[in-house]
C-alpha cells in the first residue's frame, strides 16, 4: 500500500516535471540558439548547449538586422513599442478607472445597458473594425503614426479596463459614497480621497493587462503602422521573414527574446497580478 502510493507520487512528479520541460523547451532552444554561431547551428544539435558562446547575434538583432529593407535591428521598433504602449496604457487605465467608478457607484437609468454594450465590445473580433478604422485614421491624419496606434489601443482597451475597475469598485458599499455626499464631497473629491487610495491592486492589474496586450499586439500594428512607426512584433516578424542575405537563425532567436523580454519581465515580477487580469478578463470578477 505504502510503496504503491510512493510509486504514484513519483509518477505524479514525473508527469509534472515532463510538462515543465515541455513549456520550457522553446525558451531554452531560443536562448541557446541565440548564443551559437551559424556554423555551430548547422553542425550541432537543436538541444545542445553552445560550445562557444557568442553575443554577436544579440548585437545584430538589436542594431543591424534587416526588417524588410531597413537594416537597423530591433532597436528603433522597440522604442516605437515603448512610445506606443506607455501612453496607451496610462490613458486607457485612467479612463477605465473613471468609467468603472461611475458604473459601480453612480448608476443612472440606462447605465446597465451601456455597460453591457461595452462588455460586448470586448468580445468582437477586431477584423470587423479593421477596414473602417484604417479609413478613419486616414481621415484624421493619423494613418501610419504612433499616435494613431495609441488611439486605437486606447479605444479598444477601454472595455477591459472599465470592466476591471467596475468589478473592483462594486464591492465597496454605496453607503460610503452616500455619507461622503452628505458631507458635501463631490464626484471627483470622493474618487480622489476614497477610491483612488484603495485602488493600487486593480491599477496594477489593469496596467499589466493593458501593457501585455498592447506590447504583444500584432494585428493593429501590422494594419495601421507605417515604415517609421512599426511596433516590435511587426519588426520581429519582418526580420524573421527577411530574405536578404543568409538565414541567421541565431539572430532571429535573439530578436524574439528581445521582443519578449518586457512582458516576460512583467510576468516574473508581478505574475500574481497578471493572472488576476487574465482570469478577470475571462471569468466574471
Amino acid at each position: 500500500m505504502t510503496s504503491n502510493t510512493t510509486l504514484l507520487r513519483w509518477g505524479l512528479y514525473g508527469i509534472l516535471i515532463l510538462f515543465a520541460l515541455f513549456y520550457l523547451l522553446p525558451l531554452f532552444v531560443m536562448l541557446t540558439t541565440s548564443l551559437k554561431s551559424l556554423e555551430e547551428i548547422r553542425t550541432g544539435s537543436l538541444l545542445a548547449l553552445p560550445r562557444a558562446i557568442t553575443f554577436q547575434p544579440w548585437l545584430e538583432a538589436w542594431s543591424t538586422a534587416c526588417a524588410g529593407t531597413q537594416c537597423e535591428g530591433l532597436r528603433p521598433f522597440f522604442w516605437n513599442s515603448v512610445l506606443m504602449a506607455v501612453p496607451a496604457v496610462m490613458i486607457s487605465t485612467v479612463v477605465g478607472a473613471l468609467n468603472g467608478y461611475v458604473f459601480a457607484q453612480w448608476r443612472f437609468p440606462g447605465a446597465n445597458l451601456f455597460f453591457a454594450a461595452i462588455l460586448f465590445g470586448c468580445f468582437i473580433p477586431f477584423q470587423v473594425v479593421l477596414m473602417p478604422m484604417a479609413r478613419m485614421l486616414g481621415l484624421m491624419g493619423l494613418a501610419g503614426t504612433i499616435p494613431g496606434l495609441i488611439f486605437v489601443h486606447v479605444i479598444y482597451g477601454i472595455g477591459f479596463t472599465t470592466l476591471f475597475f467596475r468589478n473592483y469598485y462594486v464591492t465597496i458599499p454605496q453607503e460610503l459614497v452616500r455619507a461622503a455626499k452628505v458631507d458635501g464631497a463631490g464626484f471627483f473629491r470622493i474618487f480622489w480621497s476614497i477610491f483612488l487610495p484603495i485602488s493600487l491592486p486593480i491599477i496594477t492589474v489593469s496596467v499589466i493587462w493593458q501593457f501585455t496586450q498592447i506590447w504583444n499586439d500584432f494585428l493593429f500594428g501590422v494594419s495601421f503602422s507605417g515604415p517609421g512607426s512599426q511596433p516590435v512584433t511587426v519588426a520581429l516578424n519582418n526580420i524573421v521573414n527577411s530574405t536578404t542575405g543568409v538565414k541567421a537563425y541565431n539572430v532571429d532567436m535573439a530578436a524574439a527574446i528581445i521582443a519578449a523580454l518586457p512582458t516576460l519581465l512583467v510576468y516574473v515580477v508581478a505574475g500574481k497580478y497578471f493572472i488576476r487580469g487574465l482570469t478577470a478578463g475571462s471569468v466574471k470578477g
Binding site: 505524479l12 512528479y13 508527469i15 509534472l16 515543465a20 515541455f22 513549456y23 522553446p26 547551428i41 548547422r42 544539435s45 537543436l46 473613471l98 468609467n99 461611475v102 453612480w106 443612472f108 447605465a111 451601456f114 453591457a116 454594450a117 461595452i118 460586448f120 465590445g121 468580445f123 468582437i124 473580433p125 477584423q127 470587423v128 473594425v129 479593421l130 477596414m131 473602417p132 477601454i158 472599465t162 463631490g186 464626484f187 504583444n216 500584432f218 494585428l219 501590422v222 512584433t233 516578424n237 524573421v240 521573414n241 532567436m253 524574439a256 521582443a259 519578449a260 512582458t263 516576460l264 510576468y267 516574473v268 505574475g271 497578471f274 487574465l278 482570469t279 475571462s282 471569468v283 466574471k284
Partner: protein
C-alpha cells in the same frame, strides 16, 4: 452649476460612450453595409444583396480557412482543456514547489504569439530542428516535417497554440479546484470514498461554470487566431493553413477586395457571437437581479 454637479457622472462616461458607439458599433455597421455591396478596391455604398457571401462560400480558399478553423479550434480547445485539467488536478495534490511549476506552466501566456510562432517555426523546421536532432541521435528515418506538408501544417499551429494557452487553462481549473468546499471533500474522505471518485463525482461537476469559461476563452482565441499563423506558417504552404482571420486580412490589405474582407469579418463575428452571446447573457442576468 447645479446641473453640472448632477451630471458629472454622465459627462465622465460621455467620451467613452461616443467612442464605443462610433468605433465599435458604427464600424460594425459600416463593415456589415460593405459586405452587402459590390465593393472591390474602393468602398461602394449601393446595396447589392448577399452576393459577397455567395462568392465567399464558393471560394475554395475560404473553404480551406473554415475547415482549418474546425480542425484547429476543436483540437486546440479539447487538448488545452485536457492538459489544463490534468495539470490542475495533479498540482492540487500538495505538490512541493507548486509555485515554481505554476510559474513555468503559465509563462507562455505572457509572450507575443509572434514570438511563440518564431520559436516553434525554428523547432519544427525539418532541416535543423527536431527532425534533424532525432536523425543525429541515430533515428535515420525519423520524419517530422509537418511544417512544410500542406495537409499536416495546421497541426503545427495546434501544437504551438496548445503550448501557449494550456497553462492558462490549468490556472483557471486550479482556481476552481481550490474554491470547491473543503468540508464536502473531507466528509467524502471520511466516508472512505476513493480520491478518483471524489474528483469525478463531486469536484469536477461543481466546476461546470469554469469549464464553460475556459471553453469561451479558448473558442474566442481560436476564432481570432491570426498572429500565430502569420509567424509560424504565414498561411502556407500555399494557403493550406489559412484561417478566417488571415483570409480576411489578405482580402483587405493585399488582395484589395473589401467586399470579401467585410463578408468574412462578418462571418467571424457571427461565429463568435453565437458562442459568446448566450454566455454573456447568462453572466449578466443574475447581476441585474442583485
Amino acid at each position: 452649476m447645479e446641473w453640472l454637479e448632477r451630471n458629472v457622472p454622465k459627462l465622465v462616461l460621455a467620451p467613452s460612450f461616443v467612442a464605443i458607439l462610433v468605433f465599435v458599433y458604427g464600424f460594425i455597421a459600416w463593415t456589415a453595409w460593405i459586405s452587402l455591396t459590390k465593393s472591390k478596391l474602393m468602398p461602394r455604398y449601393e446595396i447589392d444583396g448577399l452576393g459577397q457571401y455567395t462568392r465567399l462560400f464558393a471560394a475554395p480558399r475560404w473553404d480551406v480557412a473554415m475547415n482549418n478553423l474546425y480542425i484547429f479550434g476543436a483540437l486546440f480547445i479539447i487538448i488545452s482543456m485536457l492538459i489544463g485539467l490534468m495539470l490542475a488536478i495533479f498540482l492540487d495534490q500538495k505538490i512541493r514547489a507548486e509555485g515554481v511549476l505554476r510559474t513555468i506552466y503559465l509563462y507562455p501566456m505572457a509572450l507575443s504569439l509572434i514570438v511563440t510562432g518564431t520559436a516553434w517555426k525554428w523547432i519544427l523546421n525539418p532541416g535543423l530542428g527536431i527532425q534533424d536532432m532525432m536523425r543525429d541521435w541515430g533515428f535515420a528515418n525519423f520524419t517530422f516535417d509537418w511544417l512544410i506538408r500542406p495537409e499536416m501544417a495546421i497541426y503545427t499551429v495546434v501544437i504551438a497554440a496548445v503550448w501557449q494557452a494550456s497553462g492558462f487553462v490549468m490556472a483557471l481549473f486550479l482556481a476552481g479546484l481550490r474554491s470547491v468546499d473543503t468540508e464536502i471533500i473531507r466528509a467524502a474522505q471520511v466516508d472512505g470514498i476513493p480520491t478518483r471518485r471524489i474528483y469525478t463525482a463531486i469536484i469536477i461537476p461543481t466546476m461546470a461554470p469554469i469549464f464553460l469559461s475556459a471553453f469561451i476563452v479558448l473558442a474566442h482565441l481560436a476564432i481570432k487566431a491570426f498572429d500565430l499563423v502569420i509567424a509560424l506558417t504565414n498561411g502556407g504552404p500555399g494557403y493550406a493553413t489559412d484561417l478566417p482571420a488571415t483570409y480576411m486580412y489578405a482580402m483587405a490589405f493585399s488582395r484589395g477586395d473589401l467586399g470579401q474582407a467585410a463578408a468574412s469579418a462578418m462571418i467571424m463575428m457571427m461565429v463568435i457571437f453565437a458562442i459568446v452571446v448566450p454566455y454573456l447573457y447568462s453572466e449578466l442576468r443574475p447581476r441585474r437581479d442583485q
